[in-house]
């Protein structure tokens, strides 16, 4: 839940604009100036080998890595990459805000999948292949070549599954719904952890707005 610190999953505390970054760094420097000097050598980074720090602790910013103009998929084939772009764009399209394509969801997923176990990789490909095989079955061509209407027709039943019915004995999980669910949740994580995704959720770039105010209703409201 958002307001439990330890469970915040999409950490939204800093900012992109360079003007605000420098303000943040000034605050940070001011926070640390007094204490760091007073702490002395026992609290210095001087003795610590770089490999004993995470990239984040070294201050590395990897937010631009995916935007490399020479980017090529490392795990996905070119076709799979195109399918994933088309799928992610249907699930999280550009509206009045940018969508999954602009957030380079396909590139992030390619990076993560490269480091995943063989089993996770195969699960992902099986789900992606399911979308294409359904596309072939229903429309006679691959998903990425369908019109947006046909893509929507294909995905909608998977995205709004019918409740299982006792009378129809539909208590077995629908493999199509499972495949779609897997892809959608990975696309959602990739999108909402991107900077575009954080902005979509309304993040204003700051890491503090003062104390948590809590419920401000009259005491009788929640009886």
């Amino acid at each position: 839940m958002r307001n439990h610190g330890s469970e915040v999953s999409l950490s939204a505390q800093a900012t992109q604009s360079s003007a605000v970054i420098s303000r943040r760094d000034l605050i940070r420097a001011a926070l640390l100036a007094g204490t760091s000097a007073a702490l002395g050598p026992a609290f210095s980074l001087a003795q610590t080998a770089a490999f004993e720090l995470t990239p984040a602790q070294r201050g590395e910013d990897d937010s631009k890595q995916l935007a490399d103009p020479n980017w090529k998929p490392a795990f996905l084939s070119e076709d799979q990459n195109e399918t994933l772009i088309a799928l992610s764009d249907m699930i999280i399209p550009a509206t009045d805000t940018p969508g999954a394509k602009e957030a380079l969801v396909n590139r992030y997923l390619d990076l993560v999948l490269t480091g995943e176990s063989a089993e996770s990789q195969q699960n992902f490909l099986a789900s992606l292949n399911y979308i294409d095989s359904e596309s072939q079955r229903l429309f006679g061509k691959e998903f990425r070549s369908l019109t947006a209407e046909d893509q929507d027709d294909l995905l909608r039943p998977l995205a709004y599954p019918q409740r299982p019915s006792f009378w129809l004995n539909k208590d077995l999980p629908d493999p199509g719904v499972e495949h779609f669910g897997r892809l959608k949740s990975m696309i959602a994580v990739a999108y909402y952890t991107s900077e575009i995704g954080e902005r979509e959720l309304g993040w204003d770039g700051s890491f503090t707005h003062g104390p948590f105010q809590g419920c401000e209703h009259p005491t009788t409201t929640h009886k």
Partner: protein
């Protein structure tokens, strides 16, 4: 390092610089004793804090394969992330074994500050229902002191550390020296009121080691959220920037980092500890440091490992183990039972912006209390931690613009998760694995523990009671959880060098001195007699201060 650092004889050697070691170093050094503080890991700097870095700046946005490779155990800890995993031990360098059917998750840090850098900060006093539990229900042993004996030390620790919380006058959870409480959400206010009205149970805001007003030179919490990545304002309590800093400032404490303690050295003729031998983590050289007293604060399993590895002719089964219970009675809270649901009628949208309150709620133990009577299926009890508030709904169904909208519409959730007492049981233990050594050649542990029937019954009950309380509060979509994590997952391991009056039954005396070797103390969670159900760090710190004050008194009377 100058040679004289190792050539002099210190008054006290403190092993470990975490929550308890920091207190031992501070207390002893400020009393004028010459202290050397040994830490197995490296120094820590505020410059490596990452709490304000957004996830999109991480290469893998917290799905780093590097964690998978080097920290397959540590990654089980919620606080081990792509941001900070280097603070956690490398599992390849720090192996331990378990029986195949008794898995144990040993989550630990080797760095100045230890786990106090990433701890959950929840801080609750134990009561006499805990300290005298055996007298009430006949299981196990009482602690060798009562609440009144420890209360002044809780006061000392709380006044220094800074604990935010609200007084409740509840018999099971003594009030302490609180800084102003953090605020509750609408859902939590509703749960608090209805749970009290329908069940007479107390739900309070979490008591946490986070300062909510300026306190001992530390600025109040700025509600950025993820404390486990460090805090630029030192608003949550961690030892490096408080107790350890004070110890060093006294001029009486020398900190040696990268000192991986192998064993305690004994003067066998005098039956006294004369120092410790450690391996330099980086050079792998073996070194010895001498002291008039040795205080182990390395964390329960690690301190026990040092004692087991310190066997001598006189103590063939481990140092100070004439009782034979060293390593036994390992406990770790059973956690996982509970329920979650939604408050669909609370129309509050989630926000991606701070404030993010780094604290939850606490529902005080209500089973087997002096006023509740005995539960038919289990002894002891559990408390709930949890919270309620709006969150983004990534699980929303659908696709396209509708899905984007549904995510932002959010879901108002509520959850209660139990932490239950883990019974002291001789058959839950650790021992030296004769076939396994760490990267410094030090024999490693074999840990054998499983939660029992009492713990399982407690978690079943917790699932039911959590659901009925959420229902009473008006929650919908309630799902019940009665399964629980493997031992170690609560990261509250205690009990392997238990304290008591009888030298035949206990390793430590009531002031944390080994019965067998009086200038050898263990003040971390090892000394626990019963686990209670409250998070243990506050109590460990209070016990450490009490033990150190007793040791200082002995020094004053030239009795060490």
């Amino acid at each position: 390092m100058p040679q004289d650092v190792l050539q002099q004889t210190y008054d006290a050697i403190v092993v470990g610089s975490g929550a308890t070691g920091g207190w031992a170093a501070k207390r002893l050094a400020e009393a004028g004793l010459k202290v050397v503080l040994l830490e197995a890991g490296r120094a820590v700097s505020p410059k490596e804090f990452t709490e304000h870095m957004p996830a999109y700046k991480l290469k893998y946005r917290d799905h780093s394969p590097e964690i998978e490779r080097t920290r397959p155990v540590q990654k089980q800890c919620y606080a081990c992330m792509e941001y900070n995993y280097e603070w956690f031990v490398d599992d390849l360098e720090n192996p331990y074994s378990t029986p195949a059917d008794r898995p144990f998750s040993w989550q630990r840090l080797r760095i100045v500050g230890g786990r106090s850098l990433v701890w959950g900060r929840q801080s609750y006093r134990l009561s006499d229902t805990d300290f005298k539990a055996a007298s009430r229900d006949g299981y196990g042993d009482d602690w060798p002191f009562s609440y009144a004996d420890l209360a002044p030390y809780y006061d000392i620790v709380e006044r220094y550390v800074g604990i935010t919380g609200a007084a409740e006058k509840n018999e099971m959870l003594p009030d302490g020296q609180f800084l102003p409480p953090m605020q509750m959400t609408c859902g939590e206010v509703r749960m608090r009121g209805r749970v009290k009205a329908k069940f007479g149970r107390t739900l309070t805001i979490g008591r946490a080691a986070i300062v909510t007003q300026p306190h001992n030179g530390r600025a109040p919490c700025h509600y950025c959220g993820p404390c486990e990545r460090g805090c630029s304002t030192f608003s949550y309590f961690s030892s490096p920037f408080t107790t350890v800093k004070d110890a060093l400032k006294s001029g009486n404490c020398t900190l040696i980092t990268n000192a991986v303690v192998r064993h305690v050295d004994m003067d066998s003729d005098a039956n006294k500890a004369r120092g410790v031998t450690y391996v330099d983590r980086l050079t792998k050289e073996t070194k010895e440091v001498r002291g008039k007293a040795v205080v182990l604060c390395a964390q329960a399993l690690e301190s026990t490992r040092i004692l087991l590895n310190s066997a001598t002719r006189e103590y063939p089964n481990g140092l100070a183990n004439s009782s034979g219970v060293l390593g036994h009675y390992l406990m770790d809270h059973v956690a996982g039972g509970g329920a979650s649901g939604t408050f669909d009628d609370l129309n509050v949208l989630p926000s991606a912006n701070p404030p993010h309150r780094p604290n939850g709620i606490y529902l005080v133990r209500f089973r087997n209390t002096p006023s509740s009577g005995k539960h038919p299926h289990f002894i002891r009890g559990y408390g709930f931690q949890g919270g309620s508030g709006p969150d983004f709904n990534m699980e929303a169904e659908g696709l396209g613009a509708e899905y984007k909208k549904a995510v932002k519409q959010g879901i108002y959730g509520a959850s209660l998760g139990a932490f239950g007492e883990s019974l002291a049981n001789f058959d839950n233990y650790c021992e030296i694995d004769q076939n396994l050594k760490d990267a410094w050649g030090i024999p490693a542990l074999r840990i054998s523990m499983a939660h029992g029937k009492n713990e399982a019954a407690m978690m079943r009950d917790a699932g039911v009671t959590a659901a009925e309380m959420l229902e009473a509060a008006g929650a919908k979509n309630i799902s019940v959880q009665t399964s629980f994590g493997i031992p170690g997952m609560a990261v509250h391991e205690v009990g392997t060098a238990r304290m008591g009056n009888d030298p035949k039954k206990f390793v430590l005396d009531p002031f944390n001195q080994a019965h067998d070797v009086k200038n050898l103390l263990v003040t971390d969670g090892s000394c626990y007699v019963s686990s209670a159900c409250q998070n243990p760090t506050l109590t460990m710190m209070a016990i450490t201060v009490r033990a150190c004050d007793h040791l200082i008194d002995r020094f004053r009377h030239s009795d060490v």
